[in-house]
Amino acid sequence: MEKKIYLDNAATTRTRPEVVDAMLPYFTEKFGNPSSVYEFASQNKKAVDEARGTIAKALGADITEVYFTGGGTEADNWAIKATAEAYKAKGNHIITTKIEHHAVLHTCEYLEKNGYEVTYLDVDEYGIVKLDQLEKAIKPTTILITIMFANNEIGTIQPIKEIGEIAKRNKILFHTDAVQAFAQVDINVNDMGIDMLSASAHKLNGPKGIGFLYIKKGVKIRSLIHGGAQERQRRAGTENVPGVVGFGKAVEIAMATMEDRAKKEIELRDYLIKRVLAEVPYTRLNGDRVKRLPNNANFSFQFIEGESLLIMLDMNHICASSGSACTSGSLDPSHVLLAIGLPHEIAHGSLRLTLSEDNTVEEIDYTVEKIKEIVDKLRKMSPLYEDFTRKR
């Protein structure tokens, strides 16, 4: 295969070689079960707790507040379902937004089928939650506010601290899906009033299949996965030691490089945005210009359809995404783009490019040229463009 240009870091990231190196001994050498009593295995318990400590530090949390899961989705499911169950006596109302990841949305829909009431908050045209709407949505029966830290499609960062304050003032638990934000932007769970937070290693150059849920001390929440006494009896199942160790290493590196990385990514991202908007007509940038993830650019190209665009980019060895990865193949346009007010035909023509610090200006230049060519080609075959030019 020719050299590819990977611009889909919101879907998943390359596991860093240093991370793999850190994991390797735990497969074939230090392979013991951390729950075993013998010395050979107890070193693994130590390794798991070291990773836990690294993650706790990255959040400004205590080491006892971090619980490993099988990924971001499980963490979201856990936070929402188990809170719903634990606080049933208090109420049955949950507040979330229309732009959450499906891990949150479908979990909420599941709860709706089981007697819970869910309010899906609107967002403004930039994808930001309206705080006054949030305040108004709160009822005596509200037991949970779950609002994502940063959106996976358009990169918009929510006013988490303000949401945390509203939650605290109203004595409601606040969970945030930080799968896209953790170790990318500054997070301090205490300063921000976060009671629960989900994250996933493979979004930050760690391995797939490992995530965590931060649960503030004192928050009573049930288990989602019952069984052995692992994770302080809150999440059963033999610990994924290599995964945990890899996660720890990835966080260690991501936190150490966060500032420089963000700076580099923002520069490249802004260059990309500037060129695309200037050189491709009938194009808009989705999401907020400033309150957005350092590596996210999301465009809508009028008159063309996203999948065609993606395949043609792929034929030019450029990896990109339209909606979120796990829903491509579905026929519905992105719920996030609809929520920020895009009409269907324009939502269908969207492209998400999510950078990493490894991308170069040359790659961006090449990508922009290809986008221009392809958009032009697709518009020439588009009946919508034909209608538009006729009307003019």
Binding site: Q302, S308, E386
Partner: protein, 145 residues
């Protein structure tokens, strides 16, 4: 995901374009579903499809099925063209992923819609052709850039 044939027709679509003063033009699908196909037919006095062009807004499968459909109708009589089904389009492409089967339906409908337009313009009735139901049933509001 796609077969080689689909990829070929997607990357080098045949018969893209418009026909000025076409004998029949049909547009099916809608932006909400993410697929719109428009087919232009040039039909001579003997009822043979001399030329065909298409424009498609849609996924890879939509483009490929449109392209393949134009190849299949070209040179056919109206009656023969009518017999082209979504299955024949799919088969000619060596198959489509299950979620994309609807695209081939759209191609069949696009042919029918263009033929219907041709029949209406010429005030004739084509045996077995019904008024196509699919069409752009709602104009989406446009937004400002």
């Amino acid at each position: 995901m796609y077969t080689e044939k689909v990829m070929d027709h997607f990357s080098n679509p045949r018969n893209v374009g418009e026909i000025e003063n076409a004998s029949g033009v049909g547009t099916v699908g809608n932006a909400k579903c993410g697929d719109i196909m428009r087919m232009y037919l040039d039909i001579d006095e003997t009822g043979v499809i001399q030329d065909v062009k298409f424009k498609t807004f849609g996924c890879g499968a939509a483009v490929a099925t449109s392209s393949m459909a134009t190849e299949l109708v070209k040179g056919k009589t109206v009656e023969e063209a009518l017999k082209i089904t979504n299955k024949s389009v799919m088969e000619a492409l060596d198959g489509l992923p299950p979620v994309k089967v609807h695209c081939s339906l759209l191609a069949e409908e696009a042919i029918h819609a263009a033929l219907w337009d041709y029949a209406e313009k010429n005030n004739i009735k084509i045996e077995g052709l019904e008024k196509p139901k699919s069409d752009i049933h709602e104009e989406e509001e446009t937004i400002e850039y």
